[in-house]
Symmetry: none
Subunit: 415 residues, 2 copies
Amino acid sequence: MNFKPMRKASIISIGNEILSGQTVDINTSYLSGKLFSVGIPVVSFYTIGDDVDLIVRTMNFAGDDADVVLMTGGLGPTDDDLTRQAFAKFLGVELELQNELVEEIRSFFVGRNLLMPEKTKIQAYMPAGAKSLLNKFGTARGIMAHKKGKLFVAMPGVPVEMKQMFEESVLAELERMASGQAIVVQKLKCFGTGESGISELLGPIMQRGRNPLINCTSEYGVITLSIIATAEDKDKAQRMVDKDELLLTELLGELIYGRGEQTLAEVVGEKLAQQGKTIAVAESCTGGCLAKLLTDIAGASRYFTYGWITYSDKAKISELDVEPDLIEKYGSVSEQVAKTMAEGARKKAGTDFAVGITGIAGPSGGSGQKPVGLVYISIDSDTGCQTRRIDISGDRDFIRLRAAQIVLNMLRLKL
Amino acid sequence: MNFKPMRKASIISIGNEILSGQTVDINTSYLSGKLFSVGIPVVSFYTIGDDVDLIVRTMNFAGDDADVVLMTGGLGPTDDDLTRQAFAKFLGVELELQNELVEEIRSFFVGRNLLMPEKTKIQAYMPAGAKSLLNKFGTARGIMAHKKGKLFVAMPGVPVEMKQMFEESVLAELERMASGQAIVVQKLKCFGTGESGISELLGPIMQRGRNPLINCTSEYGVITLSIIATAEDKDKAQRMVDKDELLLTELLGELIYGRGEQTLAEVVGEKLAQQGKTIAVAESCTGGCLAKLLTDIAGASRYFTYGWITYSDKAKISELDVEPDLIEKYGSVSEQVAKTMAEGARKKAGTDFAVGITGIAGPSGGSGQKPVGLVYISIDSDTGCQTRRIDISGDRDFIRLRAAQIVLNMLRLKL
């Protein structure tokens, strides 16, 4: 690359519970994505136990290659939380009690009508000279300090606390450091084909070493394509990304449902809100998964009003007016019942759209004719009722979530 | 500990594609579980890019703390696979061509009616004096060598190749190294207090360096306590775990809801099924989260029958017979509405229990009197209706899931 040496980052996760597999580390991929998006590539991840000497040595080791070292975990109040102590040792300073932090912690508990446990007082200690970072959701403040021109930051391991702190107190500092180097990433979200399908459609565009690099990952049927352009300034990288985005849009057409971190539920919700339409759901096998996805979105009350989880036949009959004869004749997992559930829900809720889902999520309850993974989905609207049979391979979780995503994709294409 | 010092392990994943998030590293958790089960705890994971110097330095750094260093990745035939070269440099030896390996690779391709690509010849080179490990599913042989009494192993990054190689050529060596040490782990799951609350109840039992070690982690209010006993044989370690489990059960009482990987929904479901009881849910702010948790469990249809997601006031009125006047007077987020939702749901579903939840999940919609995070939970049963006000700090996701977990815990204590 023909520009000044890039700033690089390293991430250290601290916690015995991660090493032993008790806790899954979701912080590292979050931070890695964020670092990348400001133009600072990550050159190493480290996961280590709660051990003062090992933390200090790893901070030194990570700092050999990286200009920024972000750490998570070990700032709690218990005896096995040792990041605070290690940070002070790494800087060669003492931990100092900060009285205003004692008050802050006390008021955190008072606000919740709780007594402040004596142990939490340790969280009011900071390495001398380091900056303490506000934690809006807990009592573990973060720590930020420079050593030999490099930036070291310790944040809590609890993801919700870490994310808030990172975004409010760390991100701006990183953006300052990354000036003069740029990585621009644009994600395109697709639904309707698998990774190999995408790979066939895109061909040589997906080659390694290409700039922009096109990255592909898959989760519950949602394919994320990342266009990653590296250049000496943001504008140039952005132009490279824009060009590729056009190209991909042409090649993939309506397989692309959104950009960035958009979920299918978000896109469907936006379309409903824009068009002033409302929706109701009647779920059997998905047991609330679809309603949850729709209401995960803030402001969902603009379009989502009613939901039924009619897990038993009795509930389908009493709540959605499904005819007992229909269940008798075709079984509760059938095209006919899915359709009647959707129609019944729309009639009762008085919405523009209503969904009926019935299927076999397993692991038991399947048969030769109706295997585990068989799901009927029906969408009723004033243009009539559309019903689809789908067959999903996977475990109970996968079948339920995949079925809910397929409904959302059907709704997207309908809207 | 009154026996010989424990053997410890470290794992290094090598590959630019892992750092950039293109490939998810599933090898580390597999190896970590295997190492643990033979009695060798893992003290660190490292993820680094394909860079000879960084690999050598990381091997040295990992070897400072560990007796066994397992590496995966970077043994392929392409230019960015550099683990072979790094391993030789680490040992201070040259790479030597092994003619029998050239033949092996050639026959791998011949057996598949393919021409051997010239590039794959690099895979027939081994660091002088190192042992090469058979790969049944590919051409990337593994490398095993000792340095300063410590064991270093490089395996391919492709999980199926790595697993086969580990089990056939590495596991036995590790068992030999671990003879005379055993680890037994038992997890206890708790709900009803935070980490600092647990820590106060357990006091010195949670001290670091104690054997068994008591480890504590928290997720959406669920506290997992792991009792980790280390001894010279499995039986002794098991007895130590059993003893501590009794002690913790005494100290924590009904804060403990389960063992192993049990979820609150599983425990509640089991109790309902055992007692032949049924449940219905009426959710507003949680929008299906509670129904989803209950129906995540296979066999939930034994006790879960009906659910309503009454997101709008209209739905609360039409589906659950909540009086419009009540909503007018107290607001839809109120003790009174939660109670009427639960009562209405139980009446309509004819179940033994019914839950009503109404609250403000945010991010908007809060006010001074009714802030974001305020949730009313009501459980109706034939012994009457119990209603609780709770205040949750966090984002929309956290508030919704935490509220659902609190309901499950209330149900557990009721059952």
